[in-house]
């Protein structure tokens, strides 16, 4: 499959070892994930019916995946009827070629971009650059990443690995309009970014976006965001090109009543994110007058064909599973070698790329199977179940040993972590044996937990390493 593995990307173990040794990175990560975790728990606890919403979210996504061909055809019909054009891409290369051709047809050599996992997955910016087209990332974190020739390390907070002092230094060095007396106050840094991007928004003719949801029976596409850069890109240019994975569908607009509750609370820990935009094809006199929707497969149909692995396609990219993962907290996002870090990355990347490379073969082992990711997932993806399933498919010996060596390294003798894991383990057993009213685990049976803990397993199997 053609989600490019980052060039020179070592397997998870090696990359994780480097990250664990980087105390500043670990400090940034620990602060960030801990903060989001606490805020999210409060936002979720505010809704008495979270377990019911979660069950409905899972059911709606499962239904959509079961009838995906039907809903995709319906979406195509409705988008077309509303004045949009639908394109289909089997893989990253096809998607990039379609977008490049569409941008070229406008005669423009610059595009503004709203944060999009799908185009990170296809390596669109690099493909556009080869065609002489400059893509400007407009999400603050993506801008930080782009200015630093860096890679995102978190789905929601891609620059989570950078602190304010590092960002200030980066802006001073790489942003021509940044004032000389720029401080490292986040408000001042955000203001510098606002000025830097405003001119681009007001003059941009072409925008490229991703999508959070698309409604099959109306042809409506939605982008959920915070900063307003999304609104700028979706509103001001003449041409809008949206690249969307084929699994992002919802059957009807009614389903938004579930997902617009699940996503903001689970993701940014807000009752509602600052801005959500929805559009249906083209509206005369308002917004882009040309709209292209590129539907991306890139390994999703293969994932869809695996009865256990398919559930990964329910993911709404909230990133909650990253923030509770003890391995992510120590290893950081870059170790996962893909735009999708953390527990979801560990099950998504090997499926959509195939377990060909060293990094993909090692990803299913980048977990302690503690189950925290499953408990927090708003669409109840049983990540441990898929990990175990993929481990069985991975080419065994060398990768496994190497991976376990590194995951072990990442987790090595951290007393706090051991305690956290023991707690998570207890939570799992408790959930299995007791009825916990309103607990998320109510929505379905917790899978049989691993008979031995990760640490015990690692100790037992490390003799070969």
């Amino acid at each position: 499959m053609t989600m490019p593995t980052y060039v020179g990307m070592p397997a998870f173990p090696k990359a994780a070892r480097a990250a664990v040794a980087d105390t500043r990175l670990r400090g940034n990560l620990a602060h960030a994930t801990g903060t989001i975790r606490a805020r999210r728990a409060a936002a979720v606890a505010e809704l008495d019916d979270w377990a019911e919403l979660r069950a409905a979210g899972k059911a709606i996504k499962d239904h959509t995946l079961a009838h995906l061909a039907h809903y995709l055809e319906l979406l195509e019909e409705r988008v077309t009827a509303a004045g949009g054009t639908v394109h289909w891409a089997r893989d990253a290369a096809e998607a990039n070629a379609i977008v490049t051709r569409l941008v070229r047809a406008t005669g423009e050599t610059e595009v503004v971009k709203v944060k999009s996992m799908a185009t990170q997955e296809t390596g669109l910016n690099e493909a556009l650059a080869e065609a002489g087209i400059t893509a400007h990332e407009t999400d603050l974190a993506e801008l930080i990443v782009q200015l630093g020739d860096d890679r995102p390390s978190h789905i929601l907070v891609p620059a989570i690995h950078k602190n304010r002092a590092e960002i200030r230094a980066l802006f001073r060095a790489r942003m021509p309009s940044a004032p000389d007396d720029l401080t490292d106050d986040p408000a001042a840094l955000a203001e510098a970014a606002r000025r830097h991007l405003r001119a681009k928004f007001l003059s941009a003719k072409v925008a490229v976006s991703g999508a959070n949801f698309a409604i099959a029976d109306t042809g409506t596409v939605l982008v959920v965001e915070s900063e307003g850069n999304g609104r700028m890109c979706l509103t001001l240019p003449d041409t809008l090109i949206t690249v969307m994975g084929i699994e992002k569908l919802l059957p009807t607009a009614r389903d938004l009543e579930v997902f617009l509750q699940l996503l903001p609370r689970s993701s940014t820990a807000e009752r509602m994110n600052p801005y959500t935009s929805a559009w249906t094809g083209v509206t005369p006199g308002d917004g882009p007058q040309a709209f292209h929707l590129v539907l991306l497969d890139n390994g999703r149909t293969a994932t869809h064909a695996d009865p256990v692995g398919r559930q990964a396609l329910r993911c709404i990219r909230c990133s909650a599973c990253l923030n509770v993962c003890p391995v992510y907290a120590r290893a950081g996002g870059h170790a996962y070698g893909s735009p999708y870090p953390g527990p979801i990355g560990a099950i998504l990347s090997p499926q959509i790329r195939g377990i060909g490379s060293e990094v993909d073969a090692s990803l299913p082992f980048a977990s302690s199977l503690c189950g925290a990711c499953y408990e927090v997932c708003p669409v109840a993806i049983d990540i441990p179940e898929v990990l175990v399933h993929l481990r069985a498919r991975a080419p065994k010996r060398p990768a496994e040993r190497a991976a376990m060596g590194a995951a072990g390294w990442a987790l090595n003798s951290a007393a706090r972590l051991a305690a956290a894991q023991a707690l998570a383990g207890r939570g799992r057993r408790f959930a299995r044996h007791a009825r916990v009213p309103r607990a998320w685990t109510d929505t379905r049976d917790v899978p049989v937990p691993p008979a031995e803990s990760f640490r015990a397993w690692w100790r037992r199997t490390r003799d070969g390493s």
Partner: protein, 197 residues
């Protein structure tokens, strides 16, 4: 085989009738989390985002709006009730085709408010203007009638035509991208003021 046919073929066959299966999806979640006091709830939740909330009578609205104006011109969309802006010098008001970059702000109505989440929904119809109008100017004054307040997300969605261009606004734009500390006012209007009638 085209990419389209290829992708669709890989996803088939699917069993059964999608419509019947869809109708059978259980939806045991609540339609609303609060029954009463929606006006108070909306005011509280909107204010939680540090948007300014003014509770005014229809009679007091023109004076309240005028008091909120900053120096410069404000854009008003077609279809905005003229009485709302009766307290303002007509020279300060610009039509929807004005140069938005130089406008100080904009005054609009809305389609619905979600009390539970403090969200204002715009469908960019009469009295709200095309999307750019509530995006480019820095100061957004929005007037909400009490009957536009929906209790919760499901209620609100039932009132909305999703095929219109839609913007859900919950407070001023914000970012938490730098060390997760919240900064308000990035690219959208940096100040949101809500007038609840």
């Amino acid at each position: 085989m085209t990419a389209r046919d290829d992708i669709l073929a890989r996803l088939r066959p699917a069993g059964g009738d999608p419509a019947a299966a869809y109708a059978a999806i259980p939806r045991p979640y609540l339609r609303r989390h609060h029954e009463n006091g929606l006006l108070d709830l909306a005011a509280e939740r909107i204010a939680d985002y540090r948007a300014a909330v003014h509770r005014v009578t229809e009679a007091d609205l023109p004076a309240a709006l005028a008091a909120a104006f900053r120096p410069g011109a404000y854009v008003v969309p077609d279809g905005l009730p003229a009485a709302w802006t009766a307290g303002i010098d007509a020279a300060r008001l610009a039509g929807p085709d004005a140069d938005l970059e130089w406008a100080a702000g904009t005054v609009t109505g809305c389609t619905a408010v979600i009390a539970e989440t403090g969200t204002i929904v715009l469908d960019h119809g009469p009295g709200q203007g095309r999307r750019a109008l509530t995006l480019v100017p820095d100061h957004h004054l929005v007037v909400v009638r009490a009957d536009q307040i929906a209790a919760d997300v499901p209620d609100a969605l039932a009132r909305i035509d999703v095929t219109r261009p839609l913007t859900f606004v919950s407070g001023p734009s914000a970012t938490s991208d730098i060390e997760l500390s919240r900064v308000e006012g990035v690219h959208g209007p940096r100040t949101l003021e809500v007038f609840l009638l």
